[in-house]
Every structure is written in structure tokens, then in C-alpha cells.
């Protein structure tokens, strides 16, 4: 049975707790465009490992605290 991995993230929540950091501010700190942050937040784009580390670094937490994954089986 094939398994699929879906990467999830808590960027929106972390931005809220980081004094309502805007997407633009996070984008500038992580060195990407706002469009990319919007896509990552919406689950439309899985960032590279490097960008994932950079985003976690902006929030001052471990990568696993920002990004997680769900395993989905085909039958689900």
C-alpha cells in the first residue's frame, strides 16, 4: 500500500506569536518573496531543506517545531 507524505507547517501561528509578524517581514528575513511564504503557508509549496531551516531560524526554534508531516495511505 503506497504512502504519501504531506508536509504541514505552523508558520501562520508562529507569525501571530511573533508579534503579528507580516508575511512580507518573514519573507525578507528568510530571503524569499512574499508569494513563496503565502504558498508555503497554504501548503501549496514544500520549501527546500535550506529554506525550511532559514524560516525556523527566523522564529528561533527547531525545524521540527515549524514543519511536520502527515502520512497518508492511498486507501484513506
Amino acid at each position: 500500500m503506497a504512502e504519501k507524505f504531506k508536509i504541514t507547517n505552523s508558520i501562520r501561528r508562529r507569525r501571530f506569536f511573533a508579534d503579528e509578524m507580516t508575511q512580507q517581514e518573514l519573507a525578507e528575513k528568510a530571503g524569499v518573496s512574499r508569494q513563496t511564504i503565502i504558498a508555503i503557508e497554504a501548503g501549496k509549496y514544500s520549501p527546500s531543506l535550506e529554506l525550511a531551516f532559514r524560516i525556523a531560524h527566523v522564529f528561533g526554534v527547531e525545524i521540527g517545531e515549524v514543519f511536520d508531516y502527515e502520512v497518508k495511505r492511498d486507501s484513506e
Binding site: K4, V32, S33, R34, Q35, T36, A39, K44, Y45, S48
Partner: protein, 164 residues
């Protein structure tokens, strides 16, 4: 709509303009029987000319697009100083890993269409079609591939590129 999407739309429009102009010109020439369908020199010259026009049109349209974008930002931020405006422009046109990945994925589609056209052109040669048909299938398929590349970029920007 993001800067990248607008830029893609502009390049699709310029590509479409050149392709339509090519079709109108070439079909007109063949219909008026001004040139023979086996005139290889005419095909070569006209394709080179339109490739040149395409490159020049793309460069000019992209420059005009950048000017319009910069003016738009400058007008919107007219109360801010020059450095803020420059920063805003740089922030808008930033290209990152997602843009590069979308570009690569879209380019793959464009090359597949170009490749299919190349094979179709060879097949038409096998069936003894004229040189004009063979070369035009090749030329148009690469043109359509380029348009499809733009369309796929837009699709990926809208839909996202998910988990790999």
C-alpha cells in the same frame, strides 16, 4: 497577482503576438503562391527573421514592463523617499527557489511539446511532405511549447507545486 505571474503573462502575450504574426505572414505568402513550398531558403530566412523579432520583442516588452512596474510603485509610494521606493522595487522583483522550480517544471512541458513537434516534423518528412511543412511543424511546435511553458508557469503559480 504577483510580479512573476504578471511577467509570465507579458511574455505569453509577446510570444503569441510573434507566433500569430509569423502564421499570418507565412500563410499569406503560401496562399498567394509567391513562394514555392519547397523553397528552403525562404523558410530559413523567414524563421531566422522571426526568431530575431521574437527575441527583440521579448526584450523590449520586458523593459517596458519593468518601467511600468517601477513607475507604478513610485506613484503608489510617492510620499516615501527614494531608498524606500528602490527597496520596494527590489522586494517586488525578487526571484527565489519556488520561481526557479516552477520555471524548470514549466520548461520541461515546453520541451516535451517541442520534442513532439520535432518527431511530428520527421514523420511528415517520411510521408514526403514538402520542406515548408516539415520546417513549419518544427518551428510552430517550439513556439507553442514556449506558450505552453508560460501557461504551465501560471498554472503552477495558481495551483502550487505541492509536495515535490
Amino acid at each position: 497577482m504577483s510580479y512573476q505571474e504578471k511577467k509570465t503573462i507579458v511574455s505569453i502575450i509577446s510570444g503569441m503576438f510573434v507566433l500569430v504574426a509569423y502564421c499570418v505572414y507565412v500563410v499569406g505568402k503560401y496562399q498567394s503562391q509567391a513562394v514555392s513550398p519547397n523553397d528552403l531558403k525562404f523558410c530559413g530566412v523567414i524563421m531566422l527573421v522571426f526568431i530575431g523579432i521574437g527575441i527583440a520583442a521579448t526584450i523590449i516588452i520586458q523593459i517596458l514592463f519593468h518601467i511600468a512596474l517601477s513607475v507604478g510603485i513610485a506613484v503608489r509610494e510617492r510620499n516615501c523617499d527614494e531608498k524606500v521606493i528602490e527597496k520596494e522595487i527590489a522586494r517586488t522583483i525578487i526571484e527565489d527557489e519556488m520561481d526557479r522550480l516552477i520555471e524548470l517544471k514549466a520548461m520541461r512541458i515546453g520541451l516535451i511539446i517541442g520534442g513532439i513537434g520535432f518527431v511530428a516534423a520527421l514523420v511528415s518528412a517520411v510521408f514526403s511532405y514538402s520542406v515548408a511543412v516539415v520546417l513549419n511543424i518544427m518551428f510552430l511546435s517550439f513556439g507553442l511549447g514556449s506558450l505552453a511553458e508560460g501557461a504551465m508557469s501560471l498554472y503552477y503559480y495558481r495551483k502550487g507545486i505541492g509536495d515535490g
